[in-house]
C-alpha cells in the first residue's frame, strides 16, 4: 500500500517535472529577447530539475543512489544561477539592450546609478 502511494507520488512528480521542462523550453523558444529568454531557461533549471530529481529519489529508496541524486540536485541548484548571472552580466557589458515595457526606466538609468542609494 505504501509502496503504491510512493509510486504514484513519484510518477506524478516526474510527469510534472517533464511538463515544466517542456514549458520552459517553449519559453526559451518563444520569448522576444535575450533577457526574457533567461527566465524561460530558469524554469527548466529549477522546478523541472527539482521535480524530476525528487521523483527519482522517491523511486530509489535509501541507497547510495539517493545520495548521488541529492548531490546532483545540489550542484545543479548552485551552478545554474551562477551561470545565468555570468551570462546576463556578460551580455549587458557587451551592450545587448533589453526590450523594456514603455512605462519602465531604461537600462542606462540603472547603469550609472550612484552606489549609495539606501
Amino acid at each position: 500500500m505504501l509502496e503504491w502511494g510512493i509510486n504514484i507520488l513519484s510518477g506524478s512528480l516526474l510527469l510534472i517535472g517533464g511538463a515544466f521542462g517542456f514549458i520552459g523550453g517553449l519559453g526559451l523558444f518563444r520569448f522576444p529577447d535575450f533577457y526574457t529568454r533567461l527566465h524561460g531557461a530558469g524554469i527548466t533549471d529549477t522546478l523541472c530539475a527539482i521535480c524530476i530529481g525528487a521523483g527519482l529519489i522517491l523511486q530509489s529508496g535509501i541507497s547510495l543512489l539517493t545520495l548521488k541524486l541529492l548531490l546532483i540536485l545540489l550542484f545543479l541548484l548552485f551552478t545554474a544561477p551562477t551561470a545565468t548571472h555570468a551570462l546576463s552580466r556578460a551580455a549587458m557589458i557587451d551592450g545587448v539592450e533589453p526590450e523594456l515595457a514603455d512605462d519602465s526606466e531604461p537600462l542606462s538609468a540603472h547603469r550609472g546609478k550612484p552606489s549609495s542609494r539606501t
Partner: protein, 97 residues
C-alpha cells in the same frame, strides 16, 4: 513505472529539441550559450532517468560528473567569447569604473 520514466525522458528530449532550435536561431551569441547551457542540464537529467530505466546504478556517476563539467564548460566558453583569451586573470569591466 518504466512507462512513466520513458514518458518523462521524451518530455525532456523535446525540451532539448527546443533548446537546440534556439541555439540554431540565435540571434546573439548569448542566446546560443543559454540554449547550450539548458541542453547540458537536461542531459544530466536524461542520464539520471536512464539510470533508473536500465537499472545500471553506475551510470549516475556520469550524470554527477556531467553536472560539474557542464558548468565549467559554459563559464569557459563565455570567457573565451568575451575576452578571446583564456589566460588573462581579469577582464576590463566598465561597470566598476
Amino acid at each position: 513505472m518504466t512507462l512513466v520514466l520513458i514518458a518523462t525522458t521524451m518530455a525532456v528530449f523535446s525540451t532539448m529539441a527546443l533548446a537546440l532550435g534556439r541555439a540554431l536561431k540565435g540571434p546573439t551569441i548569448y542566446d546560443r550559450i543559454v540554449a547550450v547551457n539548458v541542453f547540458g542540464t537536461k542531459t544530466v537529467l536524461v542520464v539520471a532517468l536512464i539510470t533508473h530505466i536500465t537499472g545500471h546504478a553506475d551510470l549516475i556517476d556520469v550524470a554527477l560528473v556531467y553536472a560539474l563539467i557542464n558548468f565549467i564548460a559554459i563559464v569557459t566558453v563565455l570567457k573565451l567569447v568575451k575576452t578571446r583569451d583564456l589566460g588573462s586573470a581579469t577582464e576590463e569591466d566598465p561597470q566598476d569604473a
